[in-house]
Amino acid sequence: MKRLSLSVNLVKKSIKAHSSLGLAAGALMYLVCLTGTLAVFFEEFERWEQPGIEEYQDYSVEQINQAIGEFQQRVTETPEELWVVLPSEAMPRMHISGDDHEWFIDADGSLSEPPLEAWTKMMTSLHEYLHLPQQLGTILVGILGVLLCSLTLSGLLSHPSLFKDAFRWRMGRQALTQLDLHNRLSVWAAPFYLMIALTGAFIGLIGVYGALTSVAFYENDMQTVFEVVYGSEPEVTEAKPVVDLSKAFQTLKSAAPGVTPLFLTIRDMETDGQYLEIWVSVPERLIYSEVYRFRADGSLIDHKGFSDGAIGKQVAYSVYRLHFGHYSGFWVKVVYALLGFALTVVCVSGINIWLVKRKFESVLNDGWVAVVWGLPMALAVAALFSFYGWPALSVFGITQIIALVFAMIIKQPDKARWFLMAGLVLSLSATVLTRTVAVLNEIVPPVFYGVNLSILAVILILIIMLVRQRKWLKKPCQQEQRITVTS
């Protein structure tokens, strides 16, 4: 095939830009990619984490009404907004929440346990805002999305033999293996990475963009900016005291046949202005949902127009499913996880290439190994200890610090990698074991065993890697010299 003609100067500059950007964002990008890959299956992890909750996909209006009644009895103050999340194929559990209270709903309409805020929540929050103050963290993750766009661009421009090497993977020599792995995984999935980067940046930075726009054009009124994109509240006066859910569902069926209700919200509850929103997924559409609004008597007010309104509104509401991979069933999630994992490997191999090209080892090699293998181990240890009620974030942080200190003390990256991998195997095995033993006499959903089997498959792959790489344990220790890098 014809070689893509990029000038030598452009390629050199692009390689420089690619390596500087990659080094600047490497560790955070790896963390966000790894947790993002896992977060694709957050529903499955939530069900695995709390397997005793009753699961069903059919629900009735009576069941919802009973749950709302019981919710109001349990809380001291009526919440301003009440949310009922309806069961779906991916999450066949129903739960109700308002203010800071939340409970699962049993099939008979009674309230059961509150959802756990443990490992899965910690892991998804790590992806969303790195456990920093939420706004700051979301912006930082959004900026990482922008950097990923820059990296994709500079990566493509620093590759003069894009077509010549399209299917080449030379294994054996460390530098070439890493280089070919990095390039093949990057080039073929570049559209996916660009999509993930842009949608991630969109989600992370829409708040900042909205704030700036509100200052420039809307007299610092942020609410108006969001109303332009996401629609405004309807004006409702003299509402009936109790929302007629049955009538609302009937109206929805005739107004929008074929849609699937996702959740419902009662806004301004028990006031004269109360109204009902039913959020529905629209078949064959990427929009997160369409929102139908009803008066308390069940008559239709309007729909927000995410499915048929201005194109900007439709685009703004389509980025979420596109980013999460939550459309068209379970197998899309599997492909998203595969591609997400590939992006994670791209992050790691990119830094590995830079480290190998330096032709010497330093504290950076130790630190990088501790990040690459310490992070999954810290996540696994957090999953293990959160089962016993330990705070998942603290366990995660402490384990990551221990991994860093360990790698820096032994000063042999290959050996540190082997031990951290072994630690990962042990913590994953202990997690599967403790969770399985805990539910031996209970009926649990098949997804529980599905997640356990997936973890066991990962353990098996890691054990094979450990056996193959046991020679690293015999590698001699190097004497350290001090030098200054001038270029």
Binding site: L147, S328, P476
Partner: protein, 188 residues
Amino acid sequence: MIFIALILESAGLLLIYKSWRKPQRRVVENSIAWLMVLVSIWPWQDAVGLEFGICFWFLAMPVISWVLVVINREYRKMDAPIQPRNWVWPARAQVVQNIVNLVIAGPIAFMACYVCATGLGMATGYALGLVEVNQMLLGFILFLLLWPVVIYRISTKAMRWQSASGLLLVALGGPAVLYGFSLYGFNL
């Protein structure tokens, strides 16, 4: 239909792979192969709808290609040389340069790109008669495309003071211009 789409896309990529392995470039073979890959969008969108169909087409391509990459792998056993261990101090000039680049590519480029993208979005919006939400989204999407390109440009070389001051001027002066426009009734 999904099966047909997968077969068509796989066959197209397989043909590209077969042609790639040959030493001579084969224009006809390649064109047919790429056409097959492109045409597979049709059965995809027919099976799952236009939006999902395009997504599936994009998702299937890397997975199929990676299978071909794995099939084509070569293995040359070679022991990695033992690398000396050094304690590395980065040069001070390099650290300063990186910090300067970070400030320029970060807040300054952010603000400059915001101004340019929003201004461009407004201008396009007026020219095409777009509604408010479309103008705003256009501006935001332009910003998301522009900022990475500017970051890339800044990272390619040591920043010249002329370019940096240009960006700074746009970043600081631009918001005032936008605000002025809004005061005179030009709005999103």
